[in-house]
């Protein structure tokens, strides 16, 4: 049984595409057949982050229009076996596709691939409706900011109404030092509002930006980084392994901070 997972957030810029590209690579490393689907028609980015932009020939729209076969549109990743990308069209709008068409497309992909990760556009309009149409599971990406959490909350409500019950939370770009100093929402604060199970916390790191710019997902890097490990752990948790969460706070848990917290009560 293949799993169709939509990665969504409501708010833009919280890291949906970054998470999608890294999770795809990490799952393929676990030996899975993975298809990454860019549902962000008109503003496609997933090919950039995967470094596959120059190999895109056909897009999902060409497949739907019958101008090519599905296999022709799929871009295989040369660095990591088992990953293919179905690019979105860049020259069209979100209304160019209907939820029924998306369902059909993903249904065909589901016959061959074990994981289908759908990179959802920001917002809750047509593009969002398309992206979640065929999904059976969802990963909500949010950053520890009230605007992102508020939008994520709205999206969770919409997903539940759509009958998607398996929803997990990824908190991205956490800054442990700021949490420690009480300047940023903590993981608990976010969880308290969203009330959905947590599947991963990714610390804020400059290397994420560097890897995005180079089109090389972090999990493929030879030097392991903390965010890379966090992404890998999420992939393994999706696989059903029980993996303890990284202790992101440990580094910042100095004596001074402990005393400060003691006085704050």
């Amino acid at each position: 049984m293949s799993r169709i997972i939509v990665i969504t957030s409501g708010k833009g810029g919280v890291g949906k595409t970054t998470v999608t590209s890294n999770l795809g690579m990490a799952l393929a490393r676990c030996g899975r057949q993975v298809a990454l689907v860019d549902a962000d028609f008109g503003l496609r980015n997933l090919d950039l982050l995967l470094g596959l932009e120059n190999r895109v020939v056909y897009t999902a729209l060409d497949v739907l229009a019958g101008q090519c076969r599905l296999e022709q549109a799929l871009v295989k990743d040369k660095r990591q076996e088992g990953v293919v990308l179905l690019p979105a069209a860049q020259n069209r709008m979100k209304e160019a596709v209907t939820p029924a068409q998306m369902k059909k497309l993903l249904g065909v992909l589901a016959q061959k691939y074990e994981y289908i990760l759908v990179d959802c556009p920001a917002g809750i309009e047509m593009g969002f409706q398309n992206a979640i149409a065929a999904a059976s599971e969802a990963l909500i990406v949010t950053t520890p900011e009230i605007a992102a959490v508020r939008d994520a909350d709205r999206v969770v409500g919409l997903l539940e109404a759509q009958g998607i019950k398996k929803i997990h939370l990824i908190i991205n770009r956490l800054k442990p030092a700021m949490v420690q100093a009480d300047q940023m929402m903590s993981v608990q604060d976010v969880q308290e509002i969203l009330a959905i199970p947590l599947i991963g916390v990714i610390p804020d790191d400059e290397r994420v930006i560097i890897s995005s710019n180079r089109g090389e997902p972090l999990v493929l890097a030879e030097q392991v980084s903390l965010p890379g490990i966090a992404m890998n752990n999420i992939a393994r948790r999706l696989e059903g392994e029980k993996i303890p969460f990284l202790d992101l706070m440990a580094e910042h848990d100095s004596l001074l901070n402990r005393i400060r917290r003691l006085f704050r009560g």
């Binding site: 969770v156 539940e160 509002i193």
Partner: protein
């Protein structure tokens, strides 16, 4: 916003004399609590009542309606037996075969049987008949009389929901609302009667929406964006309380006040009896 320097109480209050916020309450003097999907017991059957189409105009109509419907059905309210027949009061909603099927499937998921469809629209009646449901097409004027309209003073039976009221969700009910779960920021609960939140109240709660100032709002943890009782409006103080305990909001002569739930019972309920 308003100045609350004169206020001693833990919550700053705004009465009608204040021009800034009272406009909020004046714009909708009587809040229409019937404008949402409702589930109602009617003898041996359940009535699933859709709001009239005019209440939710625009293209987003069906998806909004659908979200409300799913929420109401999955809200954990279980006052019915399995396989209870359901009568769908579609009013003037235009439902095609697909939408009827979706509703029937959603009902089936919680072991309810869609049996009969009441509608004032011909297309809906045709679609329902084609799908094999018994249909009752009412003349539009006739439906107005048979609409489940209680007299204004009489409240509907309490609505019990087990869910998280998330951002963007609004729950309206012409009676008392009990929610087992949190009311998140961005969400709203509007009741003609009292509001009980068995969880954290962080969004907007409006009790006594038809103008009843004796209504109360109760929550295990009161951190509202805004509280409204009848025509009074109040917002929470900027700082969070040190300790958390269940609280009750009520209308005092000077506006909305909040007190500890344990004290409230002593000072307000026993004195009155």
């Amino acid at each position: 916003m308003t100045s609350d320097s004169a206020q001693q109480s833990p919550i700053s209050t705004v009465s009608e004399s204040d021009s800034v916020i009272s406009t909020v309450s004046q714009s909708d003097p009587i809040v229409d609590c019937d404008s949402q999907v409702r589930l109602k017991k009617d003898g041996e059957r359940l009535q699933l009542i859709l709001p009239p189409e005019s209440e939710i105009p625009g293209a987003a109509n069906w998806s909004d309606l659908w979200q409300q419907l799913k929420q109401r059905l999955n809200g954990g309210e279980r006052f019915w037996q399995e396989n209870t027949p359901v009568h769908l009061m579609a009013q003037d909603q235009l439902l095609d075969a697909l939408k009827l099927q979706a509703i029937a499937d959603a009902l089936l998921e919680i072991q309810l049987q869609l049996q009969r469809v009441y509608t004032t629209r011909r297309q809906t009646a045709v679609a329902a008949a084609t799908a094999g449901y018994s249909v009752e097409q009412q003349a539009p004027t006739y439906s107005l009389e048979t609409q489940p309209s209680e007299p204004a003073e009489l409240l509907a039976e309490p609505l019990y929901l087990q869910l998280t009221v998330r951002s963007g969700v609004e729950i309206r009910h012409p009676g008392t609302i009990v929610i087992l779960g949190d009311l998140n920021p961005g969400g709203a609960v509007i009741a003609a009667g009292d509001i009980f939140i068995w969880g954290r109240l962080r969004g907007v709660a409006h009790a006594g929406a038809n103008g009843n100032r004796t209504c109360r709002i109760m929550a295990l943890q009161m951190e509202p964006t805004q509280l409204r009782i009848a025509d009074a409006v109040a917002r929470a103080p900027g700082t969070l309380p040190e300790q958390i305990y269940p609280e009750v909001a009520y209308v005092a002569p000077e506006g909305i006040r909040i007190s500890k739930a344990t004290d409230f019972a002593k000072t307000h309920l026993l004195l009155n009896s």
